[in-house]
Structure formats: structure tokens, C-alpha cells
Amino acid sequence: MSAMLVMLLLASGCKDVSKENVNLFFAASVSAKERAMAFRTITPLLTAKKLDEVPDALRWVKLHQDGLNAQAAGLDNLSQALMQRRTLNAVTVRAILDAADTAAARVRGMEIMEGHLTALKLESQEDVRLFLESHRKALMCQAVLLGDIAATLRKAQAKADALAAKEW
């Protein structure tokens, strides 16, 4: 699988993006920013006391924030890029497909982490529990949205490949 990925990375050329898809990118960018911001506001509650006893949980909080920030910045870049011109390089398309997998994996991590954090009985326990639940659901929506974008890009790619094969 990895060898195939490297081969895909080696492919070059530009892909046109539909107007509808540009809107999806914009929506994904806005919701990613919102997620990063929401998690930042709850961090003081998560890291207050108790969590110091579980260094890996503290590490997770920081990593989770870093990941959300990077995802938001990446999607913002894409949204802005597509407002300038509706084309994407092949390498970028590949990175977007990977980002959709990343988002799905983050939901999985969140699902399990939610149980650990709830079990720690942090301060303002009920607020934390409610936040984690809504955060997980929002991450799931984000993953679904990125999955939709990835599916559209894959479909366009398959169409272009079929057309190229015909021309050959």
C-alpha cells in the first residue's frame, strides 16, 4: 500500500475543482477553526490539577491541540488557494485524501480518550463531560465532511484516469 502511495505522490499535474467542492472546503475550514478554538477554551479545565498525575494525558491534550491547529491552518490554506484559482496539484490532492483518513483516526482516538478523561473525574466534571461529548461529535462531522471531499476528489480522479485511458 505504501509503495502505491509513493507512486501516487510521484504523479504530477493539476486537477480542477468544482464550485460545489470549493464550498465544502470552506465549510471544512470554518468548522476546523471552530474545533481548534473550542478545544483551546476548554484546556484550562482539562489541565487543572489531577491531569498532572497522568503525563501522557497532558501530552495528549497538547498534541490534540497541535493537530487541530495544523488541520485548521491546512484547510484554511486550501480554502484560500481555491478562492484564487480552482485547481489543485496532484500532491495536494493526495494530502487531502490522507487528511480525511487522519480526521477519521482522530475521532477514534477521541472516543477512547473520552472514557479515560471522564474516569479521571476532573474538576467541573459535568462541564468537561459535556464538552468532550460534543467535541467528539463535532470531530465526527468534520471527518464525514472531509470524507465527502475525498470521495469527490477520488471520483474526479477516476473519471480523469478513465478519460486518459481512452485517449491512449
Binding site: N77, R85, T102, A105, R108, G109
Partner: protein, 141 residues
């Protein structure tokens, strides 16, 4: 080569960049060449569209491409906090790659837009020039 890749996959450290660089050396020439080719393809792909990707960015992209070539390890329902944090660390690297590549794409598209706008301006001034000459001729100037 595929076998070699799969054999090395699980041995990659997840967090430390220096450790990763050392391990990359140990990956063997085939995989390193493939990774380097992937990074170079990215640079060339963008250079074609007149985008300059700096050496540092190219290095960062190459390093992060390594994480993307690794499959994301599935988490079991009873995963420990440490395992989830390690898992999250890989996801961060993957999103940072998206950030680097999309930044280049943004600069690329902005540059293209400027080129098109300049070409459009030049074309319209030619059109206006021709219109002017035609008018002049019609008016007998």
C-alpha cells in the same frame, strides 16, 4: 521494495525528529530513494507552476511524508492513554504535512492568479488599442 517497507514500518519512532532522521538512514536505500523522490516530485510539481519551495520546507515535507507513508495503527477499545497520545502524535505529523503542502498550493494559486490577471490586463489593453484604431479609421482620423 514493498516488503522492505513493511518490514521497517513498525520500527519507526513516533515523536523524536532526530531519532527519526537516524532511523531513516537505517531504512535502506530503496525506501530513502522513494521518499526522496516523493519530496522532489512535490518540489518539481510546484516549480513547474513557478512556485519556489525553500530547502527547509522541502526537508520538512520529506520528513512528514514519512509519517503519511505509514499506515495509521488501529487503536483497540482498551488502548492506554500513552497509546492514544502516541497515536495522536502521528496524526499531528500528518496534519502538519497537509499544512505545508496546502501553504505551497495557496502560494501557487495566488501566483497563477496574478499571472492570469496580468495577462488579462495586457489582452484588454490590446483590445482597447484595436478598438481605438478602428474608431479612428471609421471617423477618418
Amino acid at each position: 521494495m514493498r516488503d522492505a517497507m513493511e518490514e521497517h514500518m513498525v520500527q519507526l519512532p513516533l515523536l523524536d525528529a532526530n531519532l527519526l532522521a537516524e532511523n531513516m538512514k537505517a531504512l535502506g536505500p530503496d525506501i530513502l530513494a522513494a521518499l526522496q523522490a516523493a519530496a522532489e516530485a512535490f518540489v518539481n510539481d510546484n516549480r513547474q507552476d513557478a512556485l519556489a519551495v525553500g530547502d527547509e520546507n522541502a526537508k520538512a515535507i520529506m520528513l512528514n511524508v514519512t509519517y503519511v507513508t505509514l499506515p495509521i495503527a488501529p487503536l483497540s477499545a482498551d488502548a492506554s492513554v500513552k497509546q492514544i497520545a502516541d497515536h495522536e502524535a502521528v496524526l499531528v505529523k500528518r496534519d502538519q504535512l497537509l499544512q505545508l503542502i496546502s501553504q505551497a498550493q495557496k502560494e501557487n494559486n495566488e501566483h497563477q492568479r496574478r499571472l492570469y490577471a496580468a495577462a488579462g490586463k495586457a489582452a484588454s489593453s490590446v483590445v482597447i488599442g484595436i478598438l481605438g484604431m478602428t474608431l479612428k479609421a471609421l471617423l477618418g482620423g
